[in-house]
């Protein structure tokens, strides 16, 4: 089974040379730490930077330089700053190659819910609806089940949606799963996790086709 870092590490393998990548808050933020350093990748943060660098040293901290998670950051050489309209223009205009974000629920039709539990909790969608409404390559990073032990990979979402038929891949603590033809398709097992365990933790329809390899990180 993977921990959050492990999920990020596995997703990092999906990041290809020349990609512009938008990382959501939470697990996705960790992905940056695991991207191979022999490929060229740029991170966009939707509050207005392309070419995001690592966290600053104490001396470098600048209130005018944060990421979408409100953390202080740095800018790499070749970075640029821009306003929120142009930033979402990059996203909406499909100039960003890969979007990685968290979710409360993902359905086998590719629907995603991640911003609201009616009556209980409202985070707000932030930029997520714009991201999932436009991106062509969306990976969800999340735990396979919620704190109550219930599956987050469902036949259909129960919470208010963030976007429809948009998620292409899900990486959880248990598995790597693609969404193909309205079904979950199991691609890889997390180390030490059996196909049975994954089936049990997946409420939606899970296609298991042939031998499922254990993932390498």
């Amino acid at each position: 089974m993977l921990d959050k870092k492990g999920i990020a590490q596995r997703i990092a393998k999906e990041v290809k040379d020349g990609y512009y990548v938008n990382l959501g808050i939470g697990i996705p933020t960790l992905v940056a730490n695991f991207v191979r350093d022999d490929i060229d990748v740029e991170f966009q943060s939707e509050n207005g930077i392309l070419g995001m660098g690592p966290f600053p040293t104490e001396d470098e901290v600048d209130a005018d330089l944060i990421n979408a998670g409100k953390q202080t950051i740095t800018a790499r050489p070749g970075a640029s700053f821009f306003d929120s309209a142009l930033s979402f223009g990059m996203i909406r205009g499909q100039h960003i190659d890969l979007t990685i974000l968290g979710a409360m629920e993902v359905a086998q039709d590719g629907n995603i819910a991640n911003w609201k539990i009616p009556g209980k909790m409202v985070k707000g969608m932030g930029g997520a609806m714009d991201l999932v409404g436009s991106a062509q390559n969306i990976i969800v990073a999340m735990m396979h089940t919620n704190k109550a032990g219930k599956s987050k990979l469902l036949s259909s979402c129960t919470l208010p949606l963030t976007g429809v038929k948009c998620v292409t891949k899900v990486v959880t603590n248990l598995a790597v799963i693609d969404i193909v033809d309205g079904k979950f398709k199991l691609l890889e097992r997390a180390p030490g996790v059996s196909v049975e365990e994954i089936k049990e933790a997946t409420e939606g329809e899970l296609i298991v086709d042939g031998d499922i390899p254990e993932m390498t990180l």
Partner: protein, 232 residues
């Protein structure tokens, strides 16, 4: 040169009243118009509709207006990490219109640029699109969204000149640039106010025509929400 300078925040906020709609630049606490917000808190005007990506934190930024119940309605994209905002929303004390961040930005930009409405894919198939026109372009459904209308836009820039030209720093540009000129009156506060000719015209982010009043803020706290550092 047409001069936009006002002497202080008091003059800058002349005409603000109960029941008005305001825009506030900033993302999180980065680039928020601190001085204008503090003055609004002091004036204690009520029943405000506020268009702002976030609502500050409990004890800073728009959180101060929330705490004093000066806000009737928030139009935002994100609530997370603001306990008072979430509490007022869930209890029904506060009306909240949550909209996608890119749509929020584009509706400001539309107001600034005289575009009454546009189509965006964001929010299609979600409760955000309820009651809105949906139309396919290139086989993909899009939602019709309209430009905002607001009485005042409060923005904060790094440098500005007396002609109203603005320059932003880093990611503090965010909504400040797109809200400039998106309301009937735009009030810009700057860290440093200079004379016309001191800013390179190639690198002005917002031309002075979009700004009606400009002043140098008395002080800037520039609070950081999540100070994250690495070993040097």
């Amino acid at each position: 040169m047409i001069t936009k300078t006002v002497n202080n925040v008091t003059e800058a906020l002349e005409g603000v009243k109960d029941d008005m709609t305001f825009m506030f630049g900033g993302f999180g606490l980065s680039g928020i118009p601190e001085n204008s917000i503090n003055e609004l808190v002091k004036r204690n005007i009520k029943n405000l509709t506020c268009i702002s990506n976030n609502a500050g934190v409990d004890d800073f930024g728009l959180g101060l207006l929330l705490k004093k119940n000066q806000i009737k309605k928030m139009i935002s994209s994100y609530v997370g990490e603001n306990a008072e905002f979430e509490r007022q929303m869930l209890s029904g004390e506060l009306e909240v219109d949550l909209i996608p961040q890119g749509t929020l930005a584009e509706r400001c930009r539309a107001a600034q640029n005289g575009i009454p409405a546009f189509y965006t894919p964001a929010g299609y198939g979600t409760e955000v699109a309820e009651g809105k026109e949906v139309r396919d372009f290139d086989g993909k459904p899009h939602v019709l969204e309209e430009a905002f209308e607001a009485d005042f836009a409060f923005v904060k820039a790094w440098k500005g000149d007396t002609a109203g030209n603005l320059i932003f720093k880093g990611t503090a540009r965010n909504f400040n640039a797109v809200m400039s000129g998106a309301a009937k009156i735009t009030v810009a506060e700057v860290e440093e106010l200079v004379e016309p000719g001191e800013l390179d015209p190639n690198f002005v982010h917002i031309p002075g025509v979009f700004v009606q009043r400009i002043y140098q803020g008395e002080k800037y706290e520039k609070r950081i929400e999540k100070r994250t550092v690495r070993e040097s």
